[in-house]
Symmetry: C2
Subunit: 162 residues, 2 copies
């Protein structure tokens, strides 16, 4: 399948929420995201990884900047009632995404974006990929540079901001 | 935007690779995924989260079962030459995905899938979401049950396997 990278985008009006130490049992994710959805907070880019064996998992997700106060308001409840060890919210982030089709079959696309960010001396804090989109969270101050770099790496024309 | 969940799918011929303790500096991800791409290993679902402050990040990704031997063959090089603390490969996994449009705006879709997996007593090991797809990695033995549960939760018709 031919890889077609269609565009790159930058989003800066977002914040990253880190749920450190989520109970690793059926229902924990349902409880947290059920409560977040019930508050009307829009959630994007939920990522959970497996770390060291027996270490409770950490989940990251992004929210709109306009929902940060609401999210801060529920952090204590998530810790007290849902067994999550710690909730951290970081607004100093930006998300750079590359959008295309058929990307899964080409791990080269992801590594090309990572190489471009390295060449621009931009540190990657989060990664999330699927067949359609590759997203990286970086420091907010690096956002524009990361977008320009992604455009150059894939020889794209118009920068888009969101 | 109206949420339309189009379908659910199960993939069992995959393995999860855990890169524990990846150097948190520009270039580390580029080095690892450049080397993996150079070996012709197709990579999907790359996820990196931020855990505790100052803890080196962990990256997870999935590969095709047919690439497991090749991936095992390069684990020592990734540790010795790229500063990654540990590489673990787990084949006892399955990926259940829900595919739709306009999902970002509705964190309710993700929490509905998480609730369904809880009700089926299925533990979620990885999560990765975007506007188009929500994927969860579960134990391979839970794969079919997770797929049936996802179909029931979104009132979908045909199960699809991959
Ligand atoms: C951590 C969280 O994903 C948990 N394993 C669950 O299934 O809900
Ligand atoms: C961990 C890895 O993502 C690193 N921060 C990088 O930029 O490559």
């Amino acid at each position: 399948q031919q890889v077609v990278v269609r565009g790159a985008a930058l989003r800066k009006n977002l914040a990253r929420v880190v749920l450190e130490g989520v109970p690793d049992a059926p229902g924990a994710a349902a409880q947290v995201f059920g409560a977040v959805a019930a508050r009307g907070i829009l959630v994007d880019d939920i990522v959970q990884v497996v770390t060291a064996p027996d270490a409770p998992p950490t989940i990251n997700f992004t929210i709109d900047s306009s929902d940060v106060a609401e999210m801060r308001g529920m952090a204590d409840q998530i810790v007290a009632e849902m067994g999550v060890r710690h909730v951290r919210i970081d607004e100093d982030v930006a998300k750079v995404s590359v959008v295309g089709v058929g990307m899964r079959a080409h791990s080269g696309v992801a590594s090309r974006l990572f190489q471009a960010l390295r060449d621009a001396d931009v540190n990657i804090e989060n990664i999330s990929t699927s067949e359609i989109v590759i997203s990286c969270i970086v420091r907010r101050a690096d956002g524009e540079k990361a977008l320009r770099t992604a455009h150059a790496a894939f020889e794209l024309q118009q920068p888009t901001q969101g």
